[in-house]
């Protein structure tokens, strides 16, 4: 993206948002005061006093001006607010740094990680070059690389950790692809060095505390316009990190739909490369950095989880450091599994960019968006349904491309045993008390793991999920010991611990978290 493109993008975002929100004086007025109301409320909780004071003065002024203003002036005031939002989102994106970053990203990433605790990290990591070595890129990487040359790619990964975007950054670099544009929460920018590179690796800033509807629309429009201009995008359609540990099954369709909008607009403008392809991708860890916080949050509210968590492991450098240290010492692999590319209607796309139906027959995708006159056109109701189809295909791809790890499988086996041994306890009491026995005999656990492994292997054979190398090749004892090595370390309290020939379950919430990765599959056993 060069300076001119950036300018064009900004103008386009502001213009489209204004057009959408200022259709007539009445809606303009309502939207203006609604936005001012939400912004003033947000500022009440703003921690930085100087920022709060400055912004508050601005919105107070807009409010008083707006009250007496004509329709035209109200529109102008609103336009200025939208402009302000847009500037903030695009941020201090410097095209030169962007270009540079694409070449020096490994160095940047090392800096990023070392910034956590430079000295100690360097000491510990001697011999283990970098986190990149832990990362396995699998699946349809060839297709992704090919399609990225002929179309706009929207990468939609599963989301379980704040390390995800960094892993994806690594992955894309290793594939020789340019950084993808993506919206990162403000909390990711809190570390200044990380923030600097985030911005310049294509990240734009998302302030989740801003509740005004028009702000969210600016974000969506930004994503849509950048897709239209051919910039590859990345976002997590699950919205936030999976709290339960399960693979996302309900996806946010608002942002997903922007791909279709961009595609139709490109067709209408007879763009040279009109296509937008969606590439689902799963990120699979043996251990998840923030597992404890996430599952606690999931259980606390069961569905009413906090949207923004600012005090989790990611914000504590020491924890990040310990986590990375553990991964190294356990030779833990992180799998990035790229799924088959999809068109914006959810059809699979081959590496030539041709869409196919379920029977593998080629499909002319341009025809989905023709109106009754045979011209490409937007139809909001129809397009919402198309996006629902797309979301369904992504969800399917997530499941098929989930790589089950030994921690997931062993947690499932032990958790099943817990439930079987305590049929009268509800989930919460089981988690709290652990039931009648604080341990199981190793033999019983092995038997259970064996059964679960058999089921997992047959599901993998049917193509319903994927297995980590250990699960695919090794025997029960090897699977168990790998899982125990992981589950017994890193987390503050070991989830599982072996003492003699007994296995003690200590943190059942963690077991629940890791075994949830297997929910949503046709599981028996």
């Amino acid at each position: 993206m060069n300076a001119a493109e950036k300018e064009k993008l900004l103008t386009e975002v502001v213009q489209r948002t204004v057009d959408r929100w200022c259709r007539d004086p009445k809606t303009t007025e309502e939207a203006l005061f609604d936005t001012i109301y939400h912004e003033r409320r947000r500022l009440e909780g703003e921690k930085k006093k100087s920022v709060a004071k400055r912004d508050r003065a601005l919105y107070d002024r807009s409010y008083h001006q707006g009250l007496k203003a004509s329709a035209g002036t109200q529109r102008e005031i609103f336009r200025q607010i939208i402009q302000r939002f847009a500037n903030e989102v695009v941020g201090h994106f410097d095209p030169r740094v962007y270009a540079l970053s694409t070449r020096v990203i490994p160095v940047a990433m090392n800096l990023l990680l070392n910034s956590v605790s430079p000295l100690r990290l360097v000491e510990t990591l001697q011999g283990a070059n970098s986190l990149i070595d832990q990362l396995d890129l699998e699946g349809q990487t060839h297709t992704l690389k090919r399609l990225a040359r002929q179309a706009t790619i929207v990468l939609v990964p599963t989301h379980s950790s704040n390390l995800d975007s960094i892993m994806i950054g690594f992955g894309l670099y290793r594939l020789g692809l340019p950084p993808f544009t993506y919206g990162a929460g403000l909390n990711l920018f809190s570390n200044r060095l990380v923030g600097f590179f985030m911005h310049n690796l294509g990240a734009y800033k998302v302030d989740r505390r801003k509740q005004a509807a028009v702000y969210k629309d600016v974000l969506k429009t930004y994503a849509g316009c950048s897709m239209e201009m051919g910039f590859h995008n990345l976002f997590f359609p699950g919205g936030t990190r999976s709290r339960s540990g399960a693979v996302e099954s309900s996806l946010k369709r608002g942002l997903l739909g922007m791909g279709l909008d961009a595609y139709v607009n490109n067709l209408r403008a007879k763009a040279k490369k009109p296509d937008v392809f969606i590439v689902p991708c799963t990120i699979n860890y043996q251990l998840v950095l923030e597992a404890e916080t996430l599952i606690a949050d999931h259980l606390k509210a069961q569905g009413k989880s906090r949207f923004i968590i600012e005090d989790d492991e990611f914000s504590k450098p020491r924890r990040v450091f310990e986590f990375i240290q553990q991964l190294f010492s356990l030779h833990s692999r992180i799998h990035l599994m790229f799924g088959q590319a999809l068109d914006v209607f959810g059809n699979q796309v081959d590496d030539q960019g041709v869409s196919h139906d379920h029977r593998g027959r080629p499909v002319d995708r341009t025809r989905y968006v023709l109106d009754s006159q045979g011209q490409p056109a937007v139809d909001a109701q129809r397009d919402r349904e198309y996006t629902r189809e797309l979301a369904r295909s992504i969800s399917e791809s997530y499941h098929q491309n989930t790589v089950i790890k030994s921690t997931n499988l062993v947690s499932r086996a032990v958790f099943d045993l817990l439930k079987e041994h305590n049929p009268d306890l509800d989930l919460f009491r089981l988690l709290r008390t652990g039931g009648a026995e604080e341990s199981f005999s190793l033999q019983e656990v092995y038997g259970r793991i064996e059964r679960t492994l058999t089921t997992a292997r047959s599901l993998a054979q049917q193509g319903q999920l994927k297995l980590d190398k250990t699960l695919a090749d090794k025997d029960t004892v090897a699977v168990a010991s790998e899982a125990l090595a992981h589950l017994g370390s890193y987390h503050r309290k070991p989830a599982l611990e072996r003492r003699g020939d007994r296995l003690f379950h200590q943190d059942r919430k963690l077991l629940l978290y890791y075994q949830n990765r297997l929910s949503g599959f046709a599981w028996e056993g």
Binding site: F345, N347, D357, H358, R359, R361, V363, D364, R365, R367, Y368, L370, D379, Q381, R382, E385, Y386, R388, E389
Partner: protein
């Protein structure tokens, strides 16, 4: 008929399936001056419709509109139309859907009017269409539509349900001014479940008639059947209100009251002592209720749902339970609050 002009002219709609219902729908449209083609698999049948204006196998003794043209060239007809109306028995639905899928394009609308479920997979017809074609704008047409009454020009109504608003909007004007009122809706699952499930209730109602149990008993069966249908549908993701509409109670009333209904006939003859084999052997047309009962019974078991009427009908059809015994057993099941299962969803 085969001059170059007519061959390339755009059609309003293509009706796929020359059975009773397909021919009836195509006839209504032809009578309204719509440019319609009726596809039949057998060339002789198409020829009979074009030359004699009859379809003696499915609508014996009925004269079809002269303007109704049949064809057995699927590919060519598909290329000329924007809207396809599939009226194919559930048993051969997938096969025909796959054939259509070879030529279908993404801007075309496909609506089906098949009241059945794919037995092997328990898939609804819209799901089969989704798997076998590239079409996304898929809909379902269902309602109290007894073919003989339709052909006689008597008033009735039907629901076209689709997630895509455009589908209803394109189908409605085609039938405008005819004796078939088309309403639109969004609940595809409910409409399909209702259309299939009502055939099971029709079998039971027919059996009650065959036993001469009277109108109270039949009303009890139909009402409780509706409740089972709604419970089952809601568990599959349907909107409960659909079952109070044309595709639900509307269709149920017509099918269970009318001796014209095939499923009703099967139930009645079974109650009078004929075996299922005898009954089916003597029918030229498909009674969808028979396989549907099996499919719903198995699915309900998998979902751990108790559906007493379905179980009773299944017993009679597949487990050699006598009709009178099955009906009496139904009277012995424990009763609770009438609408409890539906109200506390």
């Amino acid at each position: 008929m085969t001059s170059k002009n007519t061959r390339s002219a755009k059609l309003d709609i293509l009706v796929v399936g020359g059975g009773t219902f397909g021919t009836s729908l195509a006839s209504i449209l032809a009578g309204r001056q719509r440019k319609v083609r009726l596809w039949t698999r057998r060339a002789e049948q198409a020829e009979e419709i074009n030359r004699e204006h009859t379809n003696h196998r499915y609508l014996p003794g009925i004269k079809l509109p002269v303007k109704l043209i049949a064809t057995n060239d699927l590919k060519a007809s598909l290329q000329r139309t924007q809207i396809v109306l599939m009226v194919i028995p559930s048993k051969s639905f997938r096969q025909v859907a796959r054939e259509i899928g070879d030529s279908l394009q993404g801007d075309q609308i496909v609506v089906h009017a098949t009241k059945g479920i794919e037995i092997e997979t328990f898939k609804r017809m819209s799901q089969v269409l989704r798997e076998e074609t590239c079409a996304l704008k898929i809909g379902v047409l269902s309602g109290p539509n007894l073919a003989r009454e339709l052909m006689a020009g008597r008033p009735t109504g039907a629901l076209v349900a689709s997630q895509y608003r455009e589908v209803g909007e394109r189908i409605q004007p085609l039938f405008a001014g005819s004796h078939l009122l088309i309403f639109s809706g969004r609940d595809v699952i409910g409409t399909e479940v209702a259309g299939a499930f009502k055939n099971i209730i029709a079998l039971a109602a027919g059996a009650a008639d065959g036993q001469g149990l009277g109108d109270n008993a039949k009303s009890l069966l139909v009402t409780r059947g509706l409740s089972e249908m709604a419970r089952f549908g809601v568990a599959l993701g349907a909107d409960v209100f659909t079952f109070g509409g044309l595709a639900g109670i509307g269709d149920l009333m017509a099918t269970c009251a009318s001796p014209l209904s095939r499923n009703h006939q099967v139930g009645e003859r079974l109650a009078k002592g004929e075996s299922l084999k005898q009954v089916l052997a003597s029918m030229t047309q498909v009674a969808e209720g028979v396989p549907t009962t099996r499919a719903v019974y198995l699915q309900a078991q998998q979902m751990h749902m108790t559906l007493p009427i379905v179980e009773a009908v299944h017993g009679v059809l597949y487990q050699k339970v006598k009709c009178d015994k099955a009906l009496h057993q139904l009277m012995a099941i424990p009763v609770g609050k009438e609408l409890a299962a539906l109200r506390f969803r």
